[in-house]
Amino acid sequence: MAIGQPHQSTTDAETKDTILEVRDARVQFGMSRGQAWVLNDVDLDIYREEILAVVGESGSGKSMFASALLDAVEDPGVLSGNVTYYPEDTGTVSSDEIETFDASGSDSVDVLDLTQSELKRLRWEEISMVFQGAMNSFNPTMKILHHFHETIRAHNAVMEDRMDHVRDLFDSLHLDFDRVMKSYPHELSGGMKQRALIALALVLEPDVLVMDEPTAALDLLMQRSIISMLRNLRDEFGLTIVFITHDLSLVAGLADRIGVMYAFEFIEVGDPTSLLNDAAHPYTRALLRSLPSLTSDLDEMKPIAGSRPDPVNIPTGCSYHPRCPISDDRCEIEDPELVDVDDENEHKAACFYTDQARTELEYTLHDESMEDM
């Protein structure tokens, strides 16, 4: 069931070290029409210091996955399953300043089993989040500076140390510290707000940064520049980044691994090169074929037939089978699990007929950023 056993598979001769382990994560909403599953038995390991991009169409469960990592699923959603966090042995956050999590001696933290105060420490000190819609993530009647101050105070951290850290962050993000700090949110541009929000998420030096569509409302240039800043931040501060987006081409060059979600679960996970150039799941292939591009023929671009599944009534067997051109009886009954498709790299897909998909379903990559891969 588990995909990617930690300490086992290697891609670049370096042992992968799991920082977050998600098992059987389900999010359930009671609706008048019945139970809606907006996250359906998701299993995934997130490795230390990697950038994991989670891609999927809207309503595929991406944001729910992001919220689940912090146990922040909003009411009335109910999250079940396991999310385990493995803190680093030697805390990056100096222990005299912020209590580290493994003070009790245990080397793993069950995120869904924490008390309110433990959860408060886990969020922002260990796992932090940048929300969808940076435009509205700041209190409109408060200066940016006070958002930083109140966060630092709420976590009993040392003000000077943290503010020094924020100065470094602002430098890395190319923000003018003095000007941004004394501004109200409405006085900043979208890109500035977004970068200030990233700095706010990193103020307590968390190990994991979860970003939910962080670039959704920005123009292309700003998206690209934020993407490149993220890579620098990862290298500089040893971050693990989970990047949720619907824009595959945006993250193609950024991510170390891409996870594709469909119908509230991962259907394919792999490194960008092999996932983009030779996708194994019929859905991923259809998705890549539907990407618009400047250079390709419009005829080549094909939308995916059918419509996305209803969370109250997810198809039995493989959830993609009603839309899949190569599905058969087996797909309607049996639910495929994520399994390795290639031996040498960690490329997994949840499909019985990956070989058939790869030969029968054609697509060409046009996007330059993807061809660079």
Binding site: L70, A72, E74, K120, R121, R123, W124, M129, F131, Q132, G133, N136, S137, F138, N139, P140, T141, M142, K143, E150, T151, A154, H155, S183, Y184, H186, E187, L188, S189, M192, L200
Partner: protein, 340 residues
């Protein structure tokens, strides 16, 4: 800065304009003050068999109303304003045979006392009840309070006030039914007087407050519900801020913004409604004197009352204008702030 100067000038122009209109009405009314007084003096003299001297009667009427019948409206208005500005002279009350200024000035603290506390309690209740309803959105507390608020809102003020008067004042006799303080009490810093002031003020204050906060609290509820669903509130929760800070700095602060102007302008409404309040509870404040003056055809006093209420209204609106920038930084002074 320019914005503030502009607002102040606007307020002054509004005030003078309002005053001028009132003064015109005061002069042009058929059977207006001067004619009324002249007619009264003439008939008295005729009855007493004394000679009717137009000049002398005119002078007497002028003394009583502060209006020289020989002067036109513009000239009269100029004189009226000139006397107010330079000598604080609003003319002389006919009914109370005191300068208008003294009569109103004595009554003003009492009006400010009951209206001020009514407002303060009303604002607090508006915010608290609205937030409480939003916090418990969709529960029994919410719908119960909504029903209560709507009921209170539908009762005309005077009916509710008279009802209170009947119950508390006459049936149960727990609160006095008129006056500003007990007659036996010596005004000053003593227990009897102070308790008396509170118990006499209780009913006027409570009635303004209970019947007054309704509409505002529904608006407050709607704003709060909207902000509870906002991204910045969720982000604040995840950042681990205390519930207290989220409630005050994030929720209440932002929810008050849209109703703030209404609340401040409401100041003038509460003071004007004191005409009714003070009448019902026989509480001699500015409103009570104003109504009394109308009945006595005491025109200078009525005019003085108008000046008082017009001034309050203009000041309330000016306060709303000038302070909005303080509570909502986005409004500020558009020209002087950078925006990108």
């Amino acid at each position: 800065m320019r914005y503030y100067v502009q607002r102040v000038f606007q307020a002054i122009i509004t005030f003078v304009g309002g005053l001028f209109l009132t003064y015109c009405l005061y002069r042009l009314m058929p059977g207006g003050p001067v004619q009324a007084i002249v007619a009264r003096i003439v008939s008295r003299r005729v009855r007493q068999g004394r000679p009717v001297d137009a000049q002398e009667i005119g002078a007497q009427a002028e003394r009583m109303t502060g209006i020289n019948p020989e002067h036109g409206i513009l000239e009269g208005f100029y004189n009226y304003v000139f006397n107010i500005v330079v000598y604080q002279d609003f003319g002389r009350s006919i009914g109370f045979s005191d300068p208008v200024f003294d009569v109103l000035f004595r009554a003003m603290p009492w009006s400010l006392f009951i209206s001020g506390y009514g407002l303060l309690l009303g604002f607090t209740a508006t915010v608290l009840v609205g937030t409480l309803m939003a916090w418990n959105e969709g529960t029994k507390t919410d719908s119960g309070l909504t029903v209560f608020v709507l009921t209170m809102n539908s009762i005309p003020y005077y009916v509710g006030a008279i009802f209170m008067l009947v119950i508390f004042g006459f049936e149960w006799g727990v609160l006095p039914t008129g006056g500003r303080f007990p007659q036996s009490a010596e005004p000053g810093f003593n227990a009897e007087f102070m308790i008396g002031v509170v118990s006499h003020g209780a009913m006027p204050i409570l009635s303004t407050f209970i019947l007054g906060f309704a509409a505002g609290s529904l608006g407050m509820r709607a704003n709060t519900v909207r902000i509870m669903g906002s991204d910045y509130l969720r982000s604040a929760e995840l950042r681990g801020l205390s519930t207290n800070r989220i409630l005050t700095r994030y929720l209440a602060r932002n929810a008050i913004l849209p109703i703030y102007t209404g609340l401040v302008i409401g100041i003038s409404a509460v003071f004007s409604s004191s005409v009714v309040t003070e009448r019902i509870f026989q509480y001699p404040g500015v409103g009570w004197y104003m109504l009394e003056a109308l009945e006595l055809q005491d025109y200078p006093l009525v005019m003085g009352g108008f000046v008082f209420f017009a001034g309050l209204t203009v000041i309330a609106i000016l306060i709303a204008d000038l302070t909005y920038g303080l509570i909502d930084p986005r409004a500020g002074d558009a020209a002087s702030r950078e925006s990108f």
